[in-house]
Symmetry: C2
Subunit: 225 residues, 2 copies
């Protein structure tokens, strides 16, 4: 006796891709060379690039299949300038919080590619979406935001695989960014991305190169219970 | 005249991997076939697999290089049982929130691989970490949590590239999970992962196959400003 469910399972599994050791090695290279890019060349992206990367980002998982990601491509010079000002104000406040010797280093770090990156993309989570029927997020509504974060990471990796760099700007006031971009009130700001061709490739984080911080051993982050 | 900075830039860029069209195609396959796995085979993982995947996850970006991810490998039967009970209680409450016809479907969805997956991994964000000196997170402390979410996604992709599946359980009470696992009080629960060999491969989300929700067009998520 043949079970319909089983038949359709094997039907689905049949076309599944097999990933070999070489692919895994390249994937590891991608993860190692990803980088949070701060220095960009000014060359524009080819037309349609960011829309294509956004479509890839939408392959990300989302809680209850809610797909809460919302992307704002920021092209208007006045809005870009307002975002830059928002970053500068918040960066100054952050600098004031640092101790004197750290502050000198902090001020030296080039923290945003806002001036050079040809493409700016603000990313939001639609906290009011009905899609997904609320599944999976009753006890943890923040999983909506997490879904958007994973979409950003997906875009980031896809961009790097095309030789493009992404820089995530987080030193901004979320409410002010939402106002500048005139988005619906239930959209929660997740991050502002600079996208463009990196001035250089690197397998070491800029903050580590510049002596701000170094990476620690993965085993130090693991507990057994 | 040669500038030292420029020399070291070209030195770094020289060893950078080039990703070709074939790799990008396979990466797209990986993203398309990732899946949030609910049905696992019971076969154990090879020794050291989860630790290796965690090490790969630590290649994720983190705000200010804070590396706030903390992983708890849950092996103790009593703790696993308590987590399962937590899921059941929260799942029942979630079911009560759904309308009658949705509830029948909801109850039918197999929402957790907690019974079958050989490996369970709870993931937390250390909100009190001093690493990174607070850089980048003054206005948006939630970027610490986002860093951990990206580490989870990194692990997820690396696992899938080895033929392993990950299922993210979010229908739990974060405080109760933290208590069950006896973690430091400043660790914020991000998600509970089931890891193992999937019962099947698929390029369509389980929730879409089962008629819960369908994916929408990426272009509907984009605004221009």
């Amino acid at each position: 006796m043949k079970c319909v469910g089983e038949a359709s399972v094997s039907e689905r599994t049949k076309g599944a891709p097999q990933f070999d050791a070489e692919f895994r090695e390249r994937l590891r290279d991608l993860l190692k060379w990803r980088r949070d890019v701060r220095r960009f060349r000014r060359d524009p992206l080819h037309e349609g690039t960011i829309e294509r990367l956004i479509a890839t980002a939408c392959l990300a998982p989302s809680v209850g299949l809610s797909e809460p990601w919302r992307f704002v491509i920021v092209e208007d010079e006045a809005r870009r300038s307002a975002i830059r000002q928002c970053f500068e104000d918040c960066n100054r406040a952050a600098l004031d919080m640092q101790s004197r010797d750290r502050a000198a280093l902090y001020a030296h770090l080039k923290l945003a590619g806002l001036d050079d990156a040809p493409c700016q993309l603000a990313v939001f989570a639609d906290r009011a979406t009905a899609q997904g029927g609320g599944l999976g997020r009753l006890t943890m509504p923040e999983t909506l935001d997490y879904s958007v974060v994973i979409a950003v990471h997906t875009l980031w990796l896809a961009a790097r695989a095309e030789g493009l760099g992404v820089g995530w700007v987080s030193i901004v006031d979320p409410a002010r960014i939402a106002a500048i971009l005139d988005v619906p009130p239930h959209w929660i700001f997740i991050g502002h991305l600079c996208v463009g061709y990196p001035a250089q490739d690197d397998d070491t984080p800029a903050l580590e190169r510049q002596g701000w911080e170094h990476r620690h051993s993965p085993s130090a982050t693991v507990l057994y219970r």
